[in-house]
């Protein structure tokens, strides 16, 4: 044992082992991703830039201005201003998100009963001033057109958003009054 220890010290076997390891790893493939050249695709369900979804029939925003998202937002970065229209329906006049204050918790997406406010997979949106990162309603809608779209919307609707209103419909097998079922 003693002689072995001495041989180990004299020939520096441990250092030689370490050197062999570094030499071996020199010829292995580097794991670096060269980011701007090789962008990384976002995983499904990624919480990136915000968007307001559109109603596929009307093309307008699904948002009804209930304010649940603004209420639950921990960093209070959602501002909603609503008014009354002449026919007494609620109109969402302004819907604004301060992206710089957002913490991407997606509580707003969970709270929204219509999945009107969502987070897209887009994550490369750095800007040189605060104004570019202050999202107004128009910009949020155009974010939806650019980074979400109808097909992805459907997929996300089923898998991730699944708002409360998705379950509001009447199942076919539910018992109902006869007159009602016949549609009188």
């Amino acid at each position: 044992m003693k002689i072995r220890q001495i041989v180990k010290t004299v020939f520096m076997t441990e250092i030689v082992k370490g050197m062999a390891l570094t030499l071996k790893s020199m010829f292995s493939h580097a794991v670096t991703r060269q980011y701007p050249k090789e962008p990384r695709p976002a995983m499904p369900g990624f919480r990136g830039l915000h968007a307001l979804t559109r109603n596929p029939q009307t093309g307008e925003a699904r948002c009804v201005g209930c304010g649940l998202c603004a209420a639950i937002c921990p960093s209070q970065c959602i501002h909603i201003y609503t008014t009354d229209s002449p026919d007494h329906t609620k109109v969402v006049e302004r819907y604004e998100i301060e992206v710089l204050r957002c913490i991407y918790c997606a509580f707003c997406v969970e709270a929204c009963p219509y999945s009107a406010v969502v987070l897209t997979e887009h994550y490369e949106y750095s800007a040189y001033n605060k104004k570019d990162l202050y999202m107004t309603k128009d910009r949020l809608l155009s974010n939806y057109d650019k980074y979400m779209g109808w097909e992805k919307d459907q997929e996300y609707f089923k898998k991730f958003w699944h708002p409360l209103t998705a379950d509001f419909g009447t199942p076919e097998n539910q018992a109902v009054f006869k007159r009602r079922k016949e549609g009188r």
Partner: protein, 331 residues
């Protein structure tokens, strides 16, 4: 008659200046690309890529670094000792750069052929540490002061081991002239002192790493404890000068190792049109080993560093001298 002499003197002076320009240019290019290859080699050893963006595979990175350093703001600490602060990087660079003058790159090509070439290089490498100590002192910062103190202690202790490891070479070749040392090696196996002087070579390589303040003996600049050691307060081109001095010192030590232990410009077969081919290849191998050691080993503790220098390397070098002496007497 006078005119003729003046003309020949002028021509030889011009040739000498041209020679110096060529050598300095080539060496500085090597220094620049030593930084690039260090980053590349260490990067690949750590399963990274190293510089990739400036030019093809980052080949223009050293030039970009130079331009950046040159145009950076030069910050001078208010409480610093100005003249010493200014002169320290210059001393560090010029002490190492003047060693290039005596290095024979191939048969008959060197700037000056002096008989104490080996001693000259050793003297210059210890002068280089003055630059470091002065920088540490003049910066008026505790980090750089500690770095300077550590450097002086380290250089003083490892210089002895470095000098003693070369004594065996001097005994075998019977000369301090670097050209004569290379020529003396032709009689030995592989045309090198590597086998008859393996102990000396071992001690030399380790103390050369310590002498140039490189990892695992980079205590003077220990990033994790002293931020950057003796050049914390330097910025811009003054910092660049220290950087150049470090890599230049590394290349000088590689040259010295090549000349004293690896047989200089002699190789197993002559490379056509490149008389310095083998010399350069051997330097690259030694410099690569420097990088390799840096990528592998962690930094020594300070007392271990001193213990290694005084208790291991110096006795080994002395043993090498005794063994060489016995063989010299017997043979």
């Amino acid at each position: 008659m006078m005119k003729f002499f003046e003309l020949t003197a002028l021509v030889s002076l011009g040739l000498l200046l041209l020679k110096i320009a060529v050598v300095i240019g080539a060496v500085m290019l090597h220094v620049a690309y030593a930084t690039y290859f260090e980053r590349k080699v260490i990067g690949h050893m750590q399963v990274r890529l190293g510089p990739m963006n400036v030019g093809f595979h980052g080949l223009l990175q050293p030039i970009a670094d130079f331009v950046k350093l040159f145009f950076k703001e030069d910050i001078i600490p208010e409480q610093s000792d100005k003249p010493v602060f200014f002169i320290a990087p210059v001393i560090a660079v010029f002490a190492t750069m003047s060693s290039v003058a005596v290095i024979p790159f191939y048969e008959g090509f060197r700037i000056s052929n002096i008989n104490i070439g080996l001693l000259f290089i050793l003297a210059m490498s210890s002068l280089g540490s003055y630059g470091i100590i002065m920088a540490g002192w003049a910066s008026n910062s505790k980090y750089s002061f500690l770095g300077g103190l550590r450097s002086s202690a380290q250089v003083v202790s490892y210089e002895i081991a470095l000098g003693l490891s070369l004594v065996g070479v001097m005994m075998l070749s019977g000369s301090l002239n670097l050209t004569d040392i290379v020529k003396a090696q032709e009689r030995y196996p592989f045309g090198m002192f590597l086998l008859p002087q393996f102990l000396g070579c071992f001690v030399f390589l380790i103390s050369a790493v310590a002498e140039t303040n490189r990892s695992p003996f980079d205590l003077p600049e220990a990033e994790s404890e002293l931020v950057a050691g003796y050049f914390v307060e330097y910025s811009g081109m003054r910092f660049g000068l220290f950087f150049v001095a470090e890599y230049l010192g590394m290349i000088i030590m590689a040259c010295l190792g090549t000349i004293c232990f690896l047989g200089g410009w002699n190789g197993p077969f002559p490379i056509p049109y490149l008389p310095f081919g083998w010399f350069v290849i051997k330097i690259y191998i030694i410099v690569f080993v420097y990088y390799w050691i840096r990528a592998t080993l962690p930094r020594y503790r300070y007392d271990h560093l001193m213990g290694l220098g005084w208790k291991v390397l110096i006795p080994l070098a002395l043993l090498n001298i005794v063994i060489t002496g016995i063989f010299k007497v017997l043979a």
